[in-house]
């Protein structure tokens, strides 16, 4: 019996030699009409555009204007700053729980910009960037995190498990994997109606081991659903390395082959590549060619959550040794090299972001942090059903409020 084990543990030096190798093979970009039968090699490569020299190369350059990239840069930076500040807030005991997308900011922000109004994202808990990139008010995010009286979810949910239908962001839950299949059903509904909207579902690398992953891909394949199925492969599932979830002998993108769905592995820290792969998959879906499985190859640079300390199970230097770099730094460097951005602009932007995020936090704090302000207790009995049930009516009475 073989029990897989990561190459390195605390005390060892990180070893990313295999990932280094992935950096250097150019990948041809197929037509969106290419049958999946002809794309069975694709999932064993890594789609990239940004080189170590901060230029864009190859078939997958998306050709968007620099202003789009600057927007992505800004939203990713907001996401990071938001995460940093709120994590500190959590440490101060102002809320019960927090979780960041550090190192993976592109995977919330870029899909949000690449997809359209009317499309629906079925996110993981590490994709607040989607909301941020659609200008969802930071104040509302913090109010949710504080469960204060202005919390849009009225105190019902754990911090960060947002829901924002109007922003194309499906309701989160603590259970991993369970919404992946909803994205397929939602996409089928749109196809049934003949609408051009598509869905994008996300799941973590660890969570691909759930049966729900397989079921979603099966239905997506059988009914040719207009959906993008994304796996955020950040190498870790809490303390468990990715060799435990998938196999050591294949890639997550290759799971598409099992369903006759194209599978693509993309450098998730390469914003241009992420845009490009999403555009390809979205176009395929809208043109009626069905689902695409995308493995976003990235690295969870932070802890799993505020309840976790990764130094107990991986080398402390791993996050800074990731061979595919940091998505914000790489985009910034690319834009600067291309003459579309400057260090000075970046500094100014960052500063502005810091103060606006701080502002939102302060505003939310003024309303109240967790436990200091909350929606009326009676409201906890609302929304179990579309109409209240006698049990809840009586229980409200029993509670005596």
């Amino acid at each position: 019996m073989h029990v897989p084990e990561p190459k390195t543990r605390p005390g060892d030096s990180p070893d990313f030699s295999e990932i280094e190798l992935l950096k250097f093979a150019p990948v041809a970009k197929p037509e969106i009409s290419e049958p999946s039968e002809n794309l069975r090699q694709l999932p064993f490569h890594l789609v990239r555009t940004l080189t170590d020299d901060d230029v864009a190369e190859g078939d997958w350059i998306p050709g968007l204007s620099a202003s789009v990239y600057r927007k992505a840069l800004e939203y990713m930076t907001i996401t990071r700053v938001f995460d940093e500040k709120l994590l500190r807030i959590q440490r101060q005991g102002k809320t019960s729980f927090f979780l960041t997308s550090r190192g993976e900011e592109a995977l919330g922000v870029v899909p949000s910009l690449a997809l359209r109004d009317g499309d629906m994202c079925f996110p993981t808990y590490r994709q607040v960037g989607w909301l941020i990139a659609r200008d969802y008010p930071l104040l509302k995010l913090v109010n949710q995190i504080f469960n204060n009286r202005e919390d849009p979810l009225a105190g019902k949910q754990l911090p960060v498990l947002y829901s924002a239908k109007e922003f194309g962001f499906y309701s989160l839950s603590g259970n991993v994997g369970t919404r992946f299949g909803h994205s397929v059903g939602w996409a089928m509904a749109k196809a049934y109606r003949g609408k051009p909207d598509i869905a994008i579902g996300f799941i973590g690398d660890g969570s691909t081991a759930e049966g729900a992953f397989h079921e979603a891909l099966t239905f997506a394949s059988v009914y040719n659903a207009p959906v993008i199925l994304g796996v955020t492969n950040n190498q870790w599932a809490i303390s468990t390395f990715s060799g435990i979830a998938s196999s050591e002998h294949t890639t997550i993108a290759a799971k598409g082959i099992a369903y006759g769905i194209p599978g693509i592995r993309v450098d998730g820290n390469d914003v241009l590549a992420v845009f490009s792969v999403l555009d390809w998959a979205a176009e395929r879906a809208r043109a009626g060619f069905g689902a695409t499985l995308i493995e976003f190859f990235t690295y969870r640079a932070g802890a799993h959550s505020s309840s976790d300390d990764p130094k107990r199970y991986r080398p402390a230097e791993e996050p800074t040794s990731w061979p595919l770099g940091d998505p914000i730094d790489r985009l910034k460097n690319y834009l600067i090299k291309a003459g579309e951005w400057s260090a000075d602009q970046h500094e100014k932007m960052t500063k502005a972001i810091h103060s606006s995020v701080s502002e939102s936090i302060k505003e939310a704090e003024a309303i109240g942090v967790l436990g200091k302000s909350k929606p009326p207790v009676a409201s906890m009995f609302d929304g179990v059903f579309s109409e209240p049930d006698w049990r809840n009516v009586e229980q409200l009475k029993e509670l005596g409020i």
Binding site: F122, L153, N175, F180, G185, W186, A189, F219
Partner: protein, 334 residues
């Protein structure tokens, strides 16, 4: 009209009225379902409105929830209630919770139909009655008809309901009533109570029990097939019992139950599911809590034994009219 036809008619009526109603499940499309409930619907309404799914109950419900969240009114069939368990996580963690956790931002108005219960020699995995594991879940409604008229009206209400509904169909009643006397010849639905089913649209509200027979000496609570067994048992017992068909266990029509038990002072609860921690326990507890000072005798339960459903012992397991008689007579003796 048989119960199968009544259900088929409910689906047909709703598909005609509302293009958002889609029907799917294992073998429900071209074939029309292993119990023929969706017979003819694909032919009439098209392949995109009534179709076969992969053999994956979890996938069926997940897909349905996604559709429902988008605004459709999916009606999913699970081939046997025994096989709903692979979808239990989707039903509990997602369908039941979507509205609450998103503070009404999203809702999941899916109807999940499944044949349930015994009496057809289906053995351990084609006979179970899982209603208790749904009744305990906040956010799910659970409906169980006992006759064709109610079946159609309740199914229409379930599809129109903005909440997820588990709709359990007593498979032993599909093609005729059954009162537990398994050695009697099969009777068809025609002429039976509840078999007069209007062709068009009508609805029976969720959460309203029906008093099938009024009586003074005891109250009998039942649903599904056990309503018929109760009727036979009451008749044979000579006890003047009031029989209530709950029709939906969530929402539960507590006022009808309470009123009746306060009047009769005695209560017998019936279900096919095994007894321990079954839904009868909740009914018994509620009666204690709400009618204690009116009770003349301890509330009793006649239910399946606490064993899996054993094929050769179908009629030793299935709660018989004789057990109802014994229980009623012992109740009335107090």
């Amino acid at each position: 009209m048989s119960l199968v036809h009544a259900l088929n008619s409910a689906l047909d009526v709703m598909m005609e009225r509302d293009p958002d109603v889609l029907i799917f499940g294992e073998d429900v499309g071209f074939f029309g379902g292993v119990f023929r409930v969706t017979d003819g619907l694909q032919e009439k309404h098209g392949r995109h409105r009534c179709f076969d799914t992969p053999l994956s109950e979890g996938g069926i419900i997940a897909t349905g929830i996604g559709m429902a969240a988008e605004g459709l009114r999916p009606v999913a069939e699970i081939q046997f209630a025994d096989y709903i368990l692979p979808a239990y996580d989707q039903l509990v963690s997602e369908a039941a919770r979507l509205r609450y956790r998103s503070n009404n931002d999203f809702q999941a108005p899916i109807t999940v139909r499944a044949p349930y219960g015994g009496g057809i020699f289906g053995g351990q995995t084609h006979s179970q009655s899982p209603e208790a594991i749904f009744a305990h879940v906040t956010g799910l409604k659970t409906v169980i008809p006992s006759n064709p008229y109610d079946a159609k009206g309740l199914l229409i209400s379930a599809i129109e309901c903005d909440d997820p509904v588990i709709f359990l169909e007593p498979k032993r009643l599909y093609n005729g009533p059954f009162d537990g006397h398994y050695d009697k010849p099969l009777e068809p639905w025609s002429e039976q109570y509840g078999s007069d089913v209007p062709a068009g649209y009508y609805s029976v509200p969720l959460g309203k029990a029906q008093i099938i027979r009024s009586g003074s000496e005891a109250t009998v609570l039942a649903y599904g097939t056990m309503v018929h067994v109760a009727q036979a048992g009451i008749k044979e017992s000579g006890v003047d019992a009031e029989l209530i068909d709950l029709r939906s266990i969530v929402p539960l029509d507590i006022s009808t139950v309470e009123e009746s038990v306060k009047k009769t002072g005695r209560c017998l609860i019936l279900h096919e599911a095994s007894k321990f921690a079954g839904f009868g326990a909740e009914l018994s507890a509620l009666i204690t809590e709400r009618c204690f000072y009116h009770l003349l005798a301890p509330t009793q339960r006649v239910a399946g034994w606490d064993i899996p459903y054993p094929h050769a012992f179908e009629w030793d397991y299935f709660p018989s009219p004789a057990r109802v008689v014994t229980a009623l007579q012992s109740l009335a003796a107090h």
